[in-house]
Amino acid sequence: MSAEAATIRTNGHEPSYLEYKGKHSGFLGWILSTDHKRIGILYLISLSFFFLVGVIFGFLMRLELISPGRTIMDAQTYNSIFTLHGVIMIFLFVIPGIPAVFGNFVLPILIGAKDVAFPRINLMSWYMYVIGGLLAVVSILLPGGPADTGWTFYIPYSVRTNTNVMLALFAAFTLGFSSILTGLNFVTTVHRLKAPGMGWFKLPLSIWSIYSTAWVQVLATPIIGITLLLVVFERWLGIGVFDPALGGDPVLFQHLFWIYSHPAVYIMILPAMGVVSEIIPVFSRRTIFGYKFIAFSSVAIALLGSLVWAHHMFTVGMSDTGQFIFSLLTMLVAIPSAIKVFNWVATLYKGSIELSTSLLFILAFIFLFTIGGLTGIMQGILTVDIQVHDTSFIVAHFHYVMFGGTGFGFFAALHYWFPKMFGRMYHKKLANTYFWLLFIGFNVLYFPMFIMGWLGMPRRYYDYLPEFHSYHFISTIGSWILVLGLLLMIYNMYHSVRKGKVVTEKNIWGGETLEWQIETPPTHENFSEIPVIETDPYQYKMNEETLDKKEVR
């Protein structure tokens, strides 16, 4: 591959990565491929599968809650379903989400490289992902029944319950390993494989986000690994480290769990913020406002976000000093997040905006993320947190950030890079239709949860008092609208991959980053010649000058 491929200098007639034939062809050519683009697609397919499973569980959960008392399932099934919804959505969709699919696909291209630093490890991490996912699915089917602990596996219940917690724990452990390997790969890739001339401040902003994320993946994930392993051994042998019956301290479990799981929410949101910074300049035809501020705010979020975990535990009885520090740090995270939001809005200001589907999703991201972020600060305030702790207010906040933020960011990225990935175009009108369905359905589904949470509706409850009925009812209606939107999106994607209008144009959106300067779809090696970078990643100076002239007139 190395010597011959390097001498091929002709361009335009090389097969795309979709048609490329290496050592293997057909199905094997995909599942044994170390090409970062193919691995990205593999992730996209497997991720979509698990996402659908998670959506089904969420849908059933909402259906059960449409009226008080038993509706379609018993309480035990309900407990298992919210656990699986959480485990699958968090460990199999949002955490790997954007880095594994779009990070894999575009990261090497955006820095001008032919592949990631360790292509074989990259493939291995996909296999670990699939194995972890299958373990989670198998745990549903085996006797004993699926885990019913909630995705947080809180001790002592996770040691006492007779359901298949072990398999779920192993699944999460394996997925953590996969995440570590991806992070390790991306950190090394960004350090070692930047094209000549591409300094740190010439990196596209999504690279800054994915790079910061990768560090959190590497540094935080091992902690959850050992914690879950300890729970496995606690169940199996009774080593006592967390079990209060043997002298262990369950609160220590919570600390160790959140030392990872809080940074994990930044693993989830940072890449989506990168996508936002990538898409806004393109569709407003303006150079991004405050490049360095956005870049460093990613690093700041990664750093600060690693130091706030105990704000999940304000009710366990921590010292006042501890609570004060964690509350303060939590509010500090809002600063870099707000810097990003202001810079995005400033970029849009006076731009010549093209309201594409991707930009619609991005605007929804900014709107929903702002609501999610601000309610997050509310929970950082100690007194408020005692009131809303473990209520559906938390659920609403979390979904506004994770689904409204990361989920919508994921959809934006999908609609932005889809033509580059498959060389085909999706149905744009349909895309705009389901965008509105998703946006409206989302708000109808989750906004009532803020209100009823504030009024005292606990999270994870199977049954509720009659006064919450109308909120639950509205929320369930919202879930139907949302699911309809998702189905239309999946149809659009599935149909367009096979029958969409063929795109061969290199730069369909008028983007300035490197992926828009190579073939559509990219060739196996991305670049026939490694580019030399001389300019900043976002160059819309000409356009801005015209806009300024208009302003003067």
Partner: protein, 207 residues
């Protein structure tokens, strides 16, 4: 122009600095993995200082010290194996790698006798003997088995890894100008060693 491209491609496919960097990142994650347990250890030792002190008396310091010496020596032979390959002494390098694996095996054999003796005396997680003791001692032995066990697993992984390197050296895949894989296996082995350096005083020397 075409010759520089060859070099560029070769650079992508073989990047020693990159490989080493990846290995160091991986070692970070290993340290954090054990860090979680060291964190638990420090909290419980603070909470149950006396019980930890009593429980540690049961451990055999001599075997522990012996094992420490074995692992330190194995780190030395590992370094010698790398130096040998740098100096093109292939056979010597292979011998040194095999000695390293041998020492690792020796360590595990000692560990085996140590564990079986404890288990024979009824001290293992969940045993009636242990459950009748104070919770501080239960925690001490819970952590002891967990941490030395996980460390032992790392020793086994290290042995397999070095075994693969020995084979690669024998097949001339690892040579004097391409030995980064052996170096990485060495780094891993030193990590296994250094974790033991911390485990030894924390469990054996706090009496």
């Amino acid at each position: 122009m075409s010759s520089t491209e060859h070099i560029a491609t070769a650079h992508v496919h073989r990047d020693d600095v990159g490989s080493r960097m990846g290995m160091w990142l991986f070692l970070f994650t290993e340290i954090l993995l054990f860090g979680g347990m060291f964190f638990l250890y420090s909290v419980y030792r603070f909470q149950f200082a006396h019980e930890f002190h009593v429980a540690a008396k049961e451990l055999n310091t001599i075997i522990g010290a012996f094992n420490t010496a074995i692992l330190l020596t194995s780190s030395l032979t590992m370094v010698l194996a790398i130096i040998a390959i740098q100096r093109k002494q292939k056979t010597l390098s292979i011998v040194m790698q095999i000695i390293t694996i041998g020492l690792a095996l020796f360590f595990l054999v000692n560990k085996y006798f140590e564990w079986t003796a404890k288990i024979h005396h009824g001290i293992y997680p969940g045993s009636e003997e242990l459950l009748s003791k104070d919770s501080g001692e239960i925690l001490f032995y819970g952590l002891y088995y967990m941490m030395t066990g996980l460390h032992g697993l790392h020793v086994v992984v290290g042995m397999v890894l070095i075994g693969i390197m020995t084979r690669l050296t024998a097949r001339n895949s690892i040579t004097h100008d391409s030995y980064v894989r052996l170096e990485n296996a060495g780094l891993y082995w030193h990590l296994v060693d250094i974790i033991w350096i911390f485990l030894f005083p924390l469990f054996y020397l706090i009496t």
